[in-house]
């Protein structure tokens, strides 16, 4: 797993995609920092993370995950991985954690805003940590969904569009029926910015992640038999 993780992380920064993703994230943090914190003279960091999760995670993560398996499949390098003595599980997890690392980097960089706020007031640290926990959980769920989609197609664009559709569609489908809130990641993030760690929300985000990772592993193993 370690070998694949290192190589994947390196690849993010050898192609511009790592820098672009982090750059766009920082731009979004800045915009929302201005819009939610500075404009309202507030020390509340919750809205900052909520807005970034909604518009950042769900739109940027697909760009991060679209290449994970699609690119390997198109270039044929998938053959190198799958004929190596590494297990499918370690390949999938290595790639997954590399993408998670990119998001973690942006979170660490975002702490700078808390530092700025702390000059003018007191930041509620526990609430902020709860929000960051929720942010990470939403991020890993979104990444696992993106990775699953990427393992289904050779085409990166198709992979990105389908992932965006899966992540964003529930926002509008709620208008039709409340049932769709069950698949809306943002719905599960709602309580974290208030400093509430809701166990059902944590469980559902973690289980979405585990489920998507497992399906990815099963699909790749299964494809050996049918392709």
């Amino acid at each position: 797993m370690w070998a694949i993780y290192k190589k994947e992380l390196k690849t993010y920064f050898l192609s511009p995609i790592g820098y672009i993703s982090i750059g766009i994230f920082m731009l979004m943090y800045s915009i929302f920092f201005y819009a939610t914190t500075i404009t309202y003279y507030s020390v509340d960091m919750g809205n900052l993370y909520y807005a970034t999760a909604r518009y950042g995670l769900l739109l940027i993560v697909p760009l991060l995950t679209m290449r994970i398996f699609s690119e390997e499949k198109r270039n044929g390098t998938e053959q190198l991985l799958l004929t190596s003595p590494k297990s499918v599980t370690s390949i999938v997890l290595g790639k997954f954690f590399a993408a998670v690392t990119i998001i973690l980097i942006t979170i660490i960089l975002s702490i700078v805003y808390a530092v700025i706020v702390s000059f003018f007031g007191t930041v509620n640290i526990p609430t902020m940590l709860a929000t960051i926990l929720g942010f990470i959980l939403v991020a890993i769920a979104a990444i696992s969904i993106g990775m699953l989609v990427s393992s289904l197609t050779e085409n990166q664009i198709v992979s990105a569009i389908i992932t965006i559709a899966i992540l964003v569609a529930p926002w509008f489908l709620i208008e039709i029926s409340d049932i769709f809130s069950a698949v809306d990641l943002m719905d599960k993030f709602m309580k974290f910015p208030y400093g509430l760690i809701s166990i059902p929300d944590v469980i559902s985000l973690v289980s979405i992640t585990i489920m998507c990772i497992l399906i990815t592993i099963i699909l790749i193993k299964r494809r050996k038999a049918i392709s």
């Binding site: 190589k7 690849t11 270039n75 998938e78 053959q79 050996k224 038999a225």
Partner: protein, 347 residues
């Protein structure tokens, strides 16, 4: 040692590999030969564990690939078709990544990577991006990726496709060198290549195994005519009468007219007679000047085409026979029907 036993790979509507069995012994260099779409890559993908066979078993050094895939994969170095590489890495980075994937120990990794770089002749380009190096070097990087970790078995899928003649000879030399202490399977549709490198040839077509033999034996087995290539100066065109004078000659064919008064002919006889001496004695007496006289050798290429055609012709012939039989049956039935109809009418 690789054993492939009754392996079949079926897709929804087609059979890519149809009940193939063969054996490759330790230290052998074996060529997998067949036209495009014959099932070469599918067979290789199954041996390397990239895809699973629909039925049948594959053993590498006695271990079943389906039961202990990771143990088997450790012993195999694979260079897949189309040279898949990570273009954003340098050859050195790529090879050391492959070394990590192949579970080469951390202590030995640096040394092993350097060894493979030297063996594949990549010293000059090792720190340039793979994206920017030439096709020949890319091929070598891919080959180096297969060599790293010093696996017992090396499987190369069309290793020389798209290279220039000089690069082809270099890669061939490299493969020959590898054959000394590795078991090598390589696929190709270029026959001269196989006959130069391989000790054994496995010919497959349309998923079926057609022949397993040495290149020399295959050539002999498919040779049913002895041919002599003859370049002559023959102003009176006396060569027309040659067939009457030497009875063993089956046919005299004009190969080409050089338009300088000389012509090249191919003289065919049955494979057990050699006419060279006779021709050499007889032709000057007929006012024919011999400029060149040599035995024409059937190439492996011809052997290959003959083998594949033979299988196909048989199939067509059989199916035609079947059609005929069926038609006859239908006719008989129709006649009987008519007869019975007539009988009924009479009644």
């Amino acid at each position: 040692m690789i054993e492939v036993k009754n392996v079949t790979k079926k897709y929804e509507s087609t059979i890519a590999v149809d009940n193939i069995s063969f054996e490759v012994k330790d230290g052998e260099v074996v060529g997998l030969l067949g036209p495009n779409g014959a099932g070469k890559s599918t067979t290789m993908n199954m041996i390397t564990g990239y895809i699973e066979p629909t039925s049948g078993q594959i053993f590498v050094n006695g271990i079943d690939i389906l039961k202990k895939p990771n143990k088997v994969k450790k012993q195999i170095g694979y260079m897949p078709e189309g040279v898949p590489l990570y273009y954003e890495l340098t050859p050195k980075e790529f090879i050391s990544y492959m070394a990590e994937l192949k579970l080469v120990k951390k202590k030995e990794r640096k040394q092993e990577v350097q060894r493979v770089i030297n063996e594949a002749g990549l010293q000059e380009v090792q720190n340039r991006l793979i994206r920017n190096i030439s096709r020949g070097y890319k091929q070598r990087v891919s080959l180096a990726g297969a060599l790293v970790g010093n696996p017992d078995v090396i499987i190369l899928d069309e290793p020389t496709v798209g290279l220039d003649p000089k690069q082809i000879t270099e890669i061939r030399e490299l493969i020959k060198k590898l054959g000394k202490n590795h078991t090598v399977i390589l696929s190709s549709h270029i026959l001269s290549e196989i006959s130069q490198i391989c000790e054994k040839v496995i010919i497959i077509n349309k998923g079926k195994l057609i022949a397993v033999d040495t290149p020399e034996n295959l050539e002999k087995a498919t040779m049913d005519n002895n041919g002599i290539l003859l370049t002559v100066e023959d102003p009176k065109n006396n060569i027309r009468n040659l067939k009457d004078q030497i009875k063993e000659i089956k046919n005299v064919e004009l190969v080409k007219d050089n338009h300088d008064g000389t012509k090249q002919y191919l003289i065919l006889s049955s494979s057990d007679v050699d006419l060279r001496k006779q021709l050499f004695n007889l032709l000057p007496k007929q006012d024919i000047v011999i400029l060149e006289l040599k035995k024409s050798e059937t190439t492996l290429e011809e052997a290959f085409i003959k083998l594949i055609d033979a299988v196909e012709v048989n199939k067509n012939y059989n199916s035609k026979e079947e059609n005929k039989a069926q038609k006859n049956e239908n006719k008989e039935k129709a006649i009987e029907q008519e007869k019975s109809n007539k009988k009924e009418e009479k009644k």
